[in-house]
Amino acid sequence: MKVMKTNYTPALIFSVLAIIFTSCLPDSLEVKSIESAPAQIVVTSSVLPDTSIAILVTRSIGALEAGSDTDIQTLVKEIAINDANVTITTQGQTYELILMQDGVYQSLGIPIVPGNEYSLEVSCPAYGKVTAKTIVQPRVNFDTVKADVWNNGYNTYLAQVAYSITDPTSENYYMINVQGAARASLIANMVNPDAYTRFFDDKPFNGDNYSEIFRAAPKNYYRGDSIAVSISTLTRDYYDYLKVRVQNRMGLVEVFSEPVTYPTNVNGGRGFFTLHLPDVKVMVL
């Protein structure tokens, strides 16, 4: 009597392959010790719409103190340096900045004049003193700017911005920024699609009028949304720093990403001290 044989070949192959692929990853090995970077004063700056200067003073932290799931606002509260002495000196006059909250120091009375040099000094008992200098770049305003919603025929809706500027004859480095003006939270880093930033220099059109149309990708915008479009001229060193940040936003796999030492103009610390005067236009799509 013949016995009917069941064909187990596909199941066998599948089982073997399943074993292969599931057994492929071994357990990670522990790391005994890696020396953490020493804590340093971190300085960043911004010129607020009311033309006051805000300086955020924090300390750097270890790699294991915050991760991708960390709430950055909470983190800033923890690492803010609130006992610092912060001064800015320009044209022979020194201004002391006042702590507003969570490491943010502000001063209303400092005149921001393009072409002038500004020296920052931050000192605190725990981390010593850092200094930095910057020169305010000439302000360039939009000659024209308008925005609309652009649809690609599928489900993508982008903010399409058309603008024009008159470029001064000097060497200029530009940053254009588009972000939702009515968003509840502005806490987003540069890889966050909520904020779209582009950089360019004026080599192709030095001293001429320049206009272009671009779409702020890849965030979807809809009719009725408010957006803020701003243009600023940057110092060369801050422009280079931002280019490095943008270039490294697409690191694929952590272990294969290339290490970067981000440029800083803060002597003895980290961060960047820069004062640029943006021309900001808020509009409804």
């Binding site: 790391v31 270890g62 790699a63 294991l64 991760g67 025929g153 987003a188 909520d194 697409m250 952590e254």
Partner: protein, 753 residues
Amino acid sequence: MAICVLPFIVNAQSVEVKGTISDSNGEYLPLANLMIFPDSTLTSTDLDGKFAVEIKPGLKKIRISYTGYETFTASINVSADTTWKLTITPRIDQLKEVVIQENRYTNADVVQSVRAGTQRLTQKDMFNMPTIMGEADLIKTLHLLPGNVKGLDGSSDVFVRGGAADQNLVLLDGAPIYNTSHLFGFMSVFNPDVVDNVEAINGGFPAEFGGRLSSVLNVNTLSLIPDKTRVSADVGLIASRVKLEQPIVKDKASFWISGRRTYVDKVMGVVGYNIPYYFYDVNGKLIFHPSKSHQIEISHYAGEDVLDHFRDKNGDGDGMLTRYNAGNSTQSLKWVHRTPEGWTNNLYLFKTDYSYRIKNAYEDYAISAFSNIEDYGAKVTLVKDSVWKDAQLTTGLEWTRHTISPNVVNSTGSISEIMSSSASQGQTSHELAAFIQQEWSLTNRMRVNVGLRGSASLVGDKYYMNPEPRLSARYEIKEDQALKFNYSRMAQYIHRVSNAAVSTPADIWYPVTDSIRPQRSHQYSLAWQRFLPRKKVFFSIEGYYKSMEDLIAYEEGTNLLFNTDFASKLIQGEGKAYGAEFLIRKESGKFTGWISYTLSWSLRRFDGLNNGEWFHARYDRRHNGAIVAQHTLGKRFAASMVWEYISGARFTPVIGQYVTMAPNMSGLDLIPIFAKINSVKLTDSHRLDLGIKFFSKPEKKFKWTWSAGIYNIYNRATPVGIVIEADKETGALSYKQPGLFGLLPYISYGCKF
């Protein structure tokens, strides 16, 4: 094959060499051809398999050819009247895999050669050890020999004597191969079925080779004319291979063709899974021996990795397309002509091409990247074996034309707002070289090889020239052992722009330009080598020092992904590497294998990196050792094992971070702080692989082999880097070192008839 040398002492001016040539069954072979170089002496055995010739004393290369038998070559030092008992192997006997035959490319030749720093591998070396997924692999075998440091676990990168992965000239039948990997680096492009022998030159470079700083990997495919049709096939877990050898005219012409393809896509498709990836290789060769003085070989290779994936979640026809193709293609012609005057003239013509295409499309947007390098080249080598006393002269010319389209990125639709279309400047460059070298005996014990290679590269109006002197010297301590010294100056005119951690198929080859100078190196090595002929055991201890100039790196923060402006980011610096290599190798008998160990350092310095201070190379692995063993068990079983120990590679982990305001108050930015470049050493790793083979009965015409084994039997990770992981329960962050390949069982079936 076996050689028994029985010396007699007679006189020093001219010595008599007599003996017999027989097969492995002891049957004497009549009318077998015996050639002795550099004397260019040709003789034949008589009807009893005996021969007798008079030659001058010195190092001799002998070559025996006999219809139906393997061609036999060996180097023998003849100092007095001698009797040789030479045994050659019938071709059919090669199929008896149970008994591991002696290699035709024996380490006895290595000891007798003036040069050190050379390793030889054969097909058997690859097949006789357990490997990932059971796929015999040339590069993985090479990693286990001294001087060759591997990169990422499983990858096909080789870092030779502290060099970079792009500093290896990889030749397949004389044609350069620009991307040696399949499966994103985890298998090499060399189909093991067609590899005949491999010469890995890590130091003491002959003047006829150049163009790379660190090594020459000279891969030769099968070139014997079979006496009948032969078919072989192998079915593995992820790939299958098939090969056909076909004589066309008896002893005059034949061809073989071989193919390999992965079929995970097909197998998983049967059970409903979509793995849209495969690779394939096609090798072929036409062999033509129109006369005894002419040999012509035409080789072809084409291989490609293909990923073609369309994902349509909603089934509405609007999905995401991902397409990736990368492949090599080479064609080469080799023409060997031996003249009655004793010249051996070799002509190589080749074309090689490597390109990749990547395309991603979704809705209205698409981004595609393309890169291509195509070479045409020719090389003429003239060799005279007895140009003056026992001197051997080698001279020739070499020319290569590179046409490079380094990186073209096209973007359409909304993606173009983030990544605009751009293209790197295409380049055409010419590499030229002329070389001459002579090898002769200074005394009975001292033999030297002095060479000079003059190389040049022309790119547009710019040209670079480099003299590349070479010197090798061998001092014979005893008949079976020698001290060797080598010096090589090397220049490299084309570079691979690649991530420092791992090469990818999307890496870009780029020639020297106005601003990018050729890489150059000096290498010195001193070696002691010994071969015990009775036990067939080879010993080698070798120390080396290599200095490198104008090495290539790129500015910190350069992202190479889809970067068409990489050329302006390249920087140049210097490097140095030194170390010692140890090898004990038993090459025949029931028990074969080797123990290798390398102690090495490799350092780099670039003005624009690490504050201009010296730092460790990424794969500066201090200790690198392996035990490779194969043992035949009776007539039908063979067991093998590999145990490897390697120091951890160097890594640059994130050691801190800080918060800054993003531009225009658009948020907060968390910026990483990295350690000093390559300042942290990953954990050392070790791995044990075991394999077993079961053969059909040796007398069967249809021969089969079952192979099974386990890679990384104790499932230990070989770290690829350091990552930060959150504990699943507590969320606490910690550093971890992940690995790629754990325990991997394999099984395969091969047959031939």
